[in-house]
Amino acid sequence: MFINLRKIDKWAIQAVLAVFALIWLYPLVQSVIKSLGINGFGNYLAVIQHPKVNYFLVVFNSFFIAVCTTAVVGLLATLAAYAFSKMQFKLKDVLFYSLVACLAIPATAVMSPLFFTAKTLGIMNSYAGVILPLVAFNAPFMLLILKNYFDSIPNAILEAGMIDGASSFRMYRTIMIPLGVPAIINIAVLTFIYSWNDYIIPLLLIRDEKMYTVTLATQFFTGTTNQTPEMVAQLYAALILMTIPSVIVYMFGQNAMKSGLTAGAVKS
């Protein structure tokens, strides 16, 4: 909404942004300083070389789990959002609200049934054992965001497609997905971050240290008593290391968003 800005306006905008950035940076900088306590960058090295944590393995585990979750959630949520937004069927409202009802289940409130389900399915201590619950918890939420967005895509485009004889699935592929890119990227980034940061599901369902995620691995640096200052510094280092992959995913998402938006704009 800024057209032909004067120089002074530009300065004012930058100043406001910078003030907020400083406030937002302060705690971040503090955590970095904490992570450099006692041994400096040695803390990061100590995390990577920790005898009980194979750092690259835990990063791989988290990454694999987060990517699979994101892919499955993306598929399920786009399909369902398409149907709920653009199709007419008898049980539509009932089904939609029954999914919306699942939105606010806090994992801490359903730990036991979650565990029972995983046990019954025989997926404890496996990747699927973490991915499936993560999908289940995230999908309804992402469905809602996507449906809201899909609602804003004009039906006329689909009507034109129908006249051309396109199948419903073809319209999903060629119309809904490309036009939905900004929202899809948002939910993908969000799902990735949620799965990456999730602690309670792996805590409950993973036993084998080879399957540990980055969040679980931080428990080697905690300890209410007998927590040495070195462990404290390493904990911060581990937590910061843990953030980096998510930041990269976010940056990719932002870039994709830009190109996706331009592509979407051209098509519409």
């Binding site: 201590n125 991915i131 199948s167 008593t225």
Partner: protein
């Protein structure tokens, strides 16, 4: 249109297959694990799973290596979690019958709730140790590992007591404080000196955010006003509005109005806040904690690398605030139980024996993670301390625990929470009368059968 739907179904089927394969893979792993565990035939290695919050990773590494060397047929799969994580994970796992073979247990509320799922210990002990084995354990500890119906379902690993004050002797010396306070007046005087000459040093750091710590304080303090009354009230035989609790709460409230507790204490946790931001940074001269903290200055322990690394640290018992002499309250800190549905009870017993009566007990004693539950264990790591006051401290703590006036942990968790909340409310200015009524209301609702 038909073609499109077909494609869609294909994608769906593929993704379901993918998920099921992933699931199956994981499942196979799990099964092969249990397969190994299950085959406990002679010569084959047996795995015992063990979950707890104590021993810590460092302690466990040493203890388990020793155990495995002595028992080549048994492999120990140990998982340590912070208390909060441990409680979550254990509860859901036990409910689904997927719990570990050997598990850490907190006496009081937790032990009572889990009792039905735990193996009765006495028969096993009789069989392996013969009659009279109870004498091998510190008397107080063996009474606390029984459930309300009298069944013993755990064995004690160690004991800890409350309420202790860790103090920085170097700071005391610098400010000319020569005697640790033994009464409330002396404590106030010491605090005044620190405030006056300490250049911004806070006299006492207390983590009042922790319910458990507040309740420790309450149990200790109330015993100074009328010993043992709190245990009557615990069992519903005395009202929480009784004078002894009014006195206790008044004394507690005075700790705040007299500024013994630092400003903002209610927002501070004992670990890590009060410990790291205050005591270890040299910004507080005293720090309220439990006996488990006495070993923190062992080389390689918590003290190394802190701002007070070269300071001499001592420990003393909470000064006398009420009419009765100050004495510690002590409980079994960590007890160990065998899961009733374990398939490896023999092996779990061996590990339990090792930790409570065998070499594991000595290893834990030397790390000074609490006082030994086994009678006659000598701590062999004492000469590693750099300072006399630190060696002294261990003796202070162990004597106090041996002379404890009563137990530290209460039987009903909702009661513990209610007391803690009431104390925080009082510290924040709520009337003592209302706060005690709040406790009474919760207490009335407890099913004590």
């Amino acid at each position: 249109m038909k073609k499109g739907s077909f494609k869609f179904v294909l994608v769906l089927a593929l993704s379901v297959c993918l998920l099921l394969t992933a699931a199956a893979c994981g499942n196979k792993n799990a099964e092969s694990n249990t397969g190994n565990n299950g085959g406990a035939a002679s010569g084959e290695q047996e795995t015992v799973t063990f979950w707890s919050w104590v021993p810590t990773d460092v302690q466990a590494e040493k203890a388990i290596a020793t155990f495995e060397a002595a028992n080549p047929n048994i492999k120990v799969d140990y998982w340590r979690g912070e208390q909060t994580d441990f409680q979550k994970k254990l509860q859901v796992a036990m409910a689904a019958n997927e719990g570990p073979d050997l598990l850490g247990m907190q006496v009081g509320g937790m032990l009572n709730q889990y009792a039905n799922t735990l193996e009765p210990i006495e028969a096993l002990a009789d069989k392996n140790w013969g009659a009279g084995w109870q004498d091998k354990f510190v008397k107080a500890s063996i009474d606390q590992v029984k459930a309300t119906d009298g069944t013993m379902v755990a064995l004690p690993l160690n004991l800890t007591g409350q309420e202790f004050v860790l103090y920085n002797k170097t700071i005391f010396d610098k400010l000319g404080i020569t005697k640790v306070p033994a009464t409330y007046e002396e404590w106030l005087t010491v605090n005044a000196t620190i405030r006056e000459k300490g250049n911004g040093i806070v006299p006492v750091a207390f983590g009042a955010k922790d319910i458990w710590h507040d309740v420790d304080m309450f149990v200790s303090l109330s015993n100074q006003f009328a010993s043992g009354k709190i245990y009557e009230a615990e069992q519903g035989k005395l009202a929480w509005t009784d004078q002894v609790f009014v006195d206790t709460m008044t004394a507690w409230s005075k700790l705040f109005t007299d500024k013994v507790m630092q400003d903002g204490a209610l927002g501070l946790s004992t670990y890590p806040d009060a410990r790291d931001q205050y005591f270890y940074s040299g910004k507080a001269a005293m720090f309220l904690t439990g006996s488990w903290h006495a070993g923190f200055s062992l080389p390689g322990g918590e003290k190394d690398g802190t701002a007070i690394e070269n300071d001499e640290i001592g420990i003393f018992l909470l000064p006398q605030i009420g009419p009765n002499e100050a004495r510690a309250v002590a409980s079994v800190d960590t007890a160990l139980s065998i899961n009733k549905s374990s398939k490896h009870k023999e092996a779990a017993w061996k590990l339990l024996e090792f930790m409570t009566q065998g070499e594991g007990q000595q290893i834990m004693a030397d790390f000074i993670q609490g006082s030994p539950a086994k009678v006659g264990v000598q701590i062999q790591s004492l000469d590693q301390f750099k300072f006399e006051a630190e060696r002294e401290g261990i003796k202070t703590v162990n004597d106090a625990i041996a002379n404890a006036i009563g137990k530290r942990l209460l039987d009903y968790p909702e009661l513990t929470n209610a007391i803690g909340v009431a104390m925080q409310d009082v510290a924040a200015g709520k009337s003592i009368e209302t706060a005690l009524k709040d406790i009474q209301k919760i207490s009335d609702g407890i099913d004590r059968n």
